[in-house]
Symmetry: C2
Subunit: 212 residues, 2 copies
DNA sequence: TAGATTGTTAATCGATTAACAATC
DNA sequence: TAGATTGTTAATCGATTAACAATC
């Protein structure tokens, strides 16, 4: 109910709740229950109620949760009511796909700076953005007050670039490079590596593929 | 030591260990310790030893773990000694980036089929692959014995496509669509949604961005 | 040998679930 | 009112950590 300190594992589920609720609203739902929300995302209703109770009382006995209201609350809790500016580092195929992705703004993020070290790519335009030289990274990020970066550089470049990002004020890094990076404790890091997920799945897949 | 049933949370860490070990080997390391491996990826040494002990005894007191040997063992445990054929569904910007990504094969995966519903894209070539009509999905996947799919379609299409995939023998799905999908219990699903990670981070980011 | 590090046990810590009074 | 569903407590379950004998 009162937030002394919220377990990180709970914080990590809130975006999932928000995503499911947004889809429900899109589908026209005005209310939902912990039961319905849970079955939608494969989580027990008790867990959802417990998680939400960390932040307040958002439901009504007998009827459940008002979908738009709960969305508003989760956006507030997660601090995505306003849109965050994000810097994207690395314009390979992946970086380009990220830069072109239209699904960020609705959910609280907007790529406003893109950097790349390859001289061939510097100056290219991606939508409304111009690819900038890594040389200007610190100055631009600092000047714009950007606090979040997405790192889509080769694994070998991830740590040095991270150090530069941290040095110029970035406090959240989403790392697409298939490697771990080190940051000071005040900096948030999250990783995304599809191969980790694939290898997690293959552990459970019996035998090999069908005969060819 | 003996594998009665391995907790899923442990299985999920093995790919992380494998990734870190591969980088160590690349860097020329022949041996490592649970201490070193742990500090590299931000996990306690005790946890690494405990996790590995689920599958056997891979280390040597006093000296630690032989890097290439442990890599071999993890690849065996995760069933990525051989390369898995993977079908990719959806050739938007993201699908294209996935299809072009060169980092899969080394780690056990190879995209061998790509499908798309947009008639404009069918027949296009992506590297050595030809974009195929979704109409032939079941036949092609079944014929090739493909067991794993990556889903890079819009959220609204995710569930119907999933049902088709499950119907033709796919047993592992990596879902890039920002939505949850339902599958029978024998099918593995993993998700990747960068926005979930970003929203997880913003919870911790104080105040707003710097003044503009 | 002495130092280092494993594999494993027991203790601690934290997360999930079940259950139910409160109440819409 | 009767039925439904919340928020919360206590019990259960599972994961992590600390510690150390074994041993390379």
């Amino acid at each position: 109910m009162v937030d002394g300190k919220v377990p990180d594992i709970i914080v990590g589920r809130l975006p999932l709740y928000l995503r499911a609720l947004s889809r429900m609203r899109q589908a026209g739902a005005q209310v939902t229950s912990s039961q319905e929300l849970g079955s939608q995302i494969g989580i027990s209703s008790a867990q959802i109620r417990k998680d939400l109770s960390q932040f307040g009382e958002f439901g009504k006995q007998g009827t459940g949760y008002n979908v738009p209201f709960l969305i508003t609350q989760l956006r507030r809790i997660l601090q995505v009511e306003e849109v965050w500016d994000v810097a994207l580092i690395g314009i390979g195929d992946l970086g380009r796909a990220i830069a072109n992705y239209a699904g960020f703004v609705d959910r609280g993020f907007r790529i406003t700076l893109v950097f790349e070290s390859d001289p061939e790519k510097i100056g290219q335009r991606i939508g409304a953005l111009t690819v900038q030289d890594m040389a200007g990274l610190e100055e631009e990020i600092h000047r714009r007050g950007v606090r979040i970066a997405m790192l889509a550089v080769p694994a070998a470049a991830a740590q040095p670039v991270t150090d530069r990002l941290v040095g110029c004020g970035v406090r959240g890094i989403l790392c697409y490079a298939p490697t771990s990076i080190s940051v000071p404790p005040e900096v948030q890091v999250q990783y995304t590596d599809p191969v980790l997920h694939l290898q997690h799945m293959t552990f459970y897949l019996g035998a090999s593929q069908a005969p060819r």
